[in-house]
Each structure stands twice: as structure tokens, then as C-alpha cells.
């Protein structure tokens, strides 16, 4: 146990090429999918939170329900879409990082949208009469609501990041854990552990842990000493 830990730390400290490659791909795939999820999910969630429209309650419920999608099922769905007989086979991205980004985006977007809706809904009610009085159009309203909630939305993005980077089920199905191509931290940990390569698994696990703690700390700093959301 002790030797494994020392060896894992040594792997990280000397910048082992394989460890770095896997960690870098994890970060790239996760960052891309969180960006896409925020770009889609934040305006979507804000719109559901801000505007009265028929079916709003159903939309709210749907977002919450989709938040709990089982990753493996999402992976399977994306697999079926991208596989040779699937409607998106012409994209030719199965077992590539792009497929992993697609799967993680599907997984994280409902989470981002549902959390954004919660963040925005209260303030939208507070601002409703003002927006109406100023005759602000829907796009201006959405932008204002998102901008005013930016502190809380940083936390939302973080939650999305946390879900995406720690996720195994979807990326292993559509990525396949191919060395030097689609092998990310979670899939490598799962694989290397089962192969008994505990040093590499632990090294990657420590990095994963460090990233999670680091991102959390960054958001705390972003919020300022009082813990209040940025004004």
C-alpha cells in the first residue's frame, strides 16, 4: 500500500508522459463538454425560469428528471446514434474524443439547465415588473438574469465539471478507453485497477482529486471572503 502510494506520487512528480497524456485528454474532453453544456443549458434553464409559457411546469419537471440520467444509458444512446447502423454514423466519430464530448454534453446539459433555472427563477420574479416597465425584450432579460447570477452560475458550471470529469459509464461506452486516443482518467483508473496496475490508477486518482479540490477552491475565491455571490 505504502509503496504503491510512493510510486504513484513519483509518477506524478516526474511528469510521467502517460499520466500527463491521460490527464490532459480528460481535461480537454471535460472542458469542451462543460462549455457546450453551459452554452446550451444556461440560456435554456434561464428561459424556463424567467418566462411564463404553456408547458413550463412540464419543462421544469423534465429538466429535473433528465438531471438523473444514468450515464451508461446516455453512453448507450449515443453509441446507437453513432454506430454503423445509427442515423449519425456519417459523423464517423464513434470511439473518438468527439463522441465522448457529445455524450458528456448530453449528460451535463440537463444538470446545468436545471440548476440555472433554480438560480434564476427567484430573481426573475423580483425583476419581472421592472423588465416589463422598461420594455426590455426577452434576450435582454435573459442576458441580465444570467449576468446578475454569474457568481451562482460559476458554481453551476463547477457542478457540471464535477459530474463530467468523474463520469465513467458514458465515456467508456462511446470512447472505448483506447490508449493514446480516448483513454481518460476515469476509464484508465477502472481499467488499470482491474489489471492490477495500481500505481498508475492511484496517480490518476490523485490528480483527479486535486483537480476537483482546485476547482472548488477557485470558486470559493471567486465568491469573495464573505461567501456571498459576486454582485
Amino acid at each position: 500500500m505504502w509503496e504503491i502510494t510512493v510510486e504513484a506520487i513519483r509518477l506524478i512528480a516526474r511528469g510521467d508522459a502517460e499520466v500527463l497524456e491521460i490527464a490532459a485528454l480528460s481535461l480537454r474532453v471535460t472542458a469542451a463538454s462543460v462549455l457546450a453544456s453551459c452554452a446550451i443549458g444556461m440560456p435554456l434553464g434561464a428561459a424556463v425560469g424567467a418566462f411564463a409559457f404553456p408547458g413550463r411546469r412540464a419543462a421544469t419537471a423534465a429538466l429535473s428528471a433528465l438531471m438523473g440520467l444514468p450515464p451508461v444509458v446516455v453512453g448507450l444512446a449515443v453509441y446507437l446514434l453513432l454506430s454503423a447502423s445509427g442515423p449519425l454514423h456519417w459523423l464517423d466519430i464513434l470511439y473518438s474524443p468527439a463522441a465522448m464530448v457529445l455524450a458528456q454534453t448530453l449528460l451535463v446539459t440537463p444538470l446545468v439547465a436545471a440548476l440555472t433555472r433554480e438560480v434564476v427563477a427567484g430573481r426573475a420574479a423580483e425583476y419581472r415588473d421592472l423588465f416589463a416597465s422598461l420594455r426590455a425584450g426577452p434576450l435582454l432579460r435573459l442576458r441580465a438574469l444570467l449576468l446578475d447570477a454569474r457568481g451562482a452560475l460559476a458554481t453551476v458550471a463547477l457542478a457540471g465539471f464535477g459530474r463530467a470529469i468523474a463520469e465513467v459509464g458514458a465515456v467508456i461506452v462511446v470512447g472505448g478507453n483506447i490508449a493514446h486516443h480516448t483513454r481518460v482518467m476515469t476509464t484508465a483508473i477502472a481499467l488499470e485497477t482491474s489489471k492490477g496496475e495500481l500505481e498508475l490508477a492511484l496517480a490518476l486518482g490523485l490528480i483527479l482529486l486535486g483537480i476537483s479540490l482546485g476547482v472548488n477552491a477557485a470558486v470559493m475565491l471567486l465568491r469573495g471572503p464573505s461567501g456571498a455571490l459576486a454582485a
Partner: protein, 246 residues
């Protein structure tokens, strides 16, 4: 055709019902009023009389019954172009004062490059330039009220609806707000002002109305209205409201 222009805003038998209540309860019950372009109307009355509801109905924030004419035509639904409302409780976006004013200009369709200079000029005129970069969330109640007024004046409305705009202001700030209102009035903006301050009503002058239980109980030139002291004398002759017949 009569030569006289129609009032800027005119209500005939204006009613507002409490939303979603059965039996129906009228918050406004047959209000008649008219304000000419550039005119002013001071509305007073006890708490809960319906003053805020009246302003919201005139502005188009709540559905109403009866007739409401804006510039001589049936008022279109929703807040009308050319009107601005200063809320009793100021609502400011969670950003700097300047950004709040820029937002109002953006909503009014002002081109991006003129927003900052116009916002700064408006703050300067109101003597509030030192607040420009303050987050709106940290403003005092009185400061927020004045910023909200500056924001309402930005679009140079033809009709400015004011809901107790000096309720939380110190005497000096009250004078400053009244000076702003006088300037807007001199520039041709019509005012409908709700106030609890008889002195302010007299200083502003013009037409006055006293609202009670959703109806206009008295109207006339402010100087002639029984606006001093308690509302009692209006209460079916009872003394100072206490023990008066309902």
C-alpha cells in the same frame, strides 16, 4: 371635431380586481381621472387605499376593467412606450449603478455608444455621479430611490408615474428629488405622484385626488384638498379615522 387635444392619459370607471379571488374583490372601484400632456396629479390616501394598484393599472402592469385611454386611444396592453414608473420599493439589478442605467437605455433601444455618456450625464444632473460605480446592492434605501428615479427619467417619458419617491429620503434628498421632478415637469413630462407627505403635495401643486378603498373620495386643486394631518375628516365625518363607521 373639437380643437382641444385629448388628455395624455384618461381613466373612466377604471376597475382592478384582486387576482384569483372569489368572490371578486375590487382593489380599484370606478376611478375617473385625466392628466393632460405636461400636467400633474398628486394622489394621496391611507395605506391600502389602492394608490400603488392605480399606478400599476395606469402603467399597464395589471389587467383592468373600465376604460383607459392613452394619448386619446384605448391603451395597448402592457407598459406603454412614453411612460415610466418609479416603484414604491426600488428594484435595481445586481450590478453597478451605471450598469443599471445602461440597461434601461439598452431596453429603450439607445445605441451602445451613447449609453455610458447619457447615463453619466443623468447621474451628474441628479448630483449622484459619485454613485456611478457603486454596486446597486450596497446603496442605502434613499440612494436606491434616487437612482431609480434617474433611471425612469432616462428615456424622457411623457408620463412619469411615481410611487412615494421620497418616502425614505432625508429632507435634503427630498428637495433634490423635487427639484428633479420640477425640471422634468418644466421639460413637459406629465407627473402622477403618490405621496404621503402633505408638504410635498403642496409644493408640487397641481391637481390632487384622495383615494380611499379604491375610489376617489375627493379631488380638486391640491391647495384646496384636506391633505393636512389625518385622513379622518374624510371618513364619513368621523373624528380622525378612529371609531369611524366602516
Amino acid at each position: 371635431m373639437s380643437g382641444a387635444p385629448p388628455p395624455l392619459i384618461e381613466a373612466r370607471g377604471l376597475t382592478v380586481e384582486a387576482p384569483g379571488e372569489t368572490p371578486r374583490r375590487r382593489l380599484l372601484d370606478g376611478v375617473d381621472l385625466a392628466v393632460p400632456a405636461g400636467g400633474r396629479l398628486v394622489v394621496m390616501g391611507p395605506n391600502g387605499a389602492g394608490k400603488t394598484v392605480l399606478l400599476r393599472a395606469l402603467h399597464g402592469l395589471v389587467p383592468h376593467g373600465g376604460t383607459l385611454l392613452w394619448r386619446g386611444r384605448p391603451a395597448p396592453p402592457g407598459p406603454r412606450r412614453g411612460q415610466a414608473l418609479v416603484f414604491q420599493r426600488p428594484v435595481l439589478l445586481r450590478r453597478s449603478v451605471l450598469a443599471n442605467l445602461r440597461f434601461a437605455l439598452a431596453a429603450a433601444g439607445a445605441p451602445r455608444r451613447v449609453r455610458t455618456p447619457r447615463a453619466e450625464a443623468a447621474l451628474g444632473e441628479a448630483g449622484l455621479l459619485h454613485l456611478a460605480h457603486r454596486p446597486a446592492a450596497v446603496l442605502s434605501g434613499g440612494e436606491a430611490q434616487r437612482v431609480a428615479l434617474v433611471r425612469a427619467l432616462l428615456a424622457a417619458p411623457d408620463l412619469l408615474l411615481l410611487d412615494e419617491p421620497t418616502a425614505s429620503l432625508d429632507p435634503e434628498a427630498t428637495r433634490a428629488v423635487e427639484a428633479l421632478l420640477a425640471r422634468a415637469a418644466a421639460a413637459g413630462t406629465a407627473l402622477v405622484l403618490v405621496t404621503q407627505d402633505p408638504g410635498q403635495a403642496r409644493r408640487l401643486g397641481g391637481e390632487g385626488a384622495i383615494l380611499r378603498r379604491g375610489r376617489i373620495a375627493a379631488r380638486g386643486p391640491v391647495a384646496a384638498l384636506p391633505v393636512g394631518g389625518a385622513w379622518g375628516p374624510l371618513d364619513d365625518g368621523g373624528p380622525a379615522g378612529l371609531g369611524a363607521a366602516p
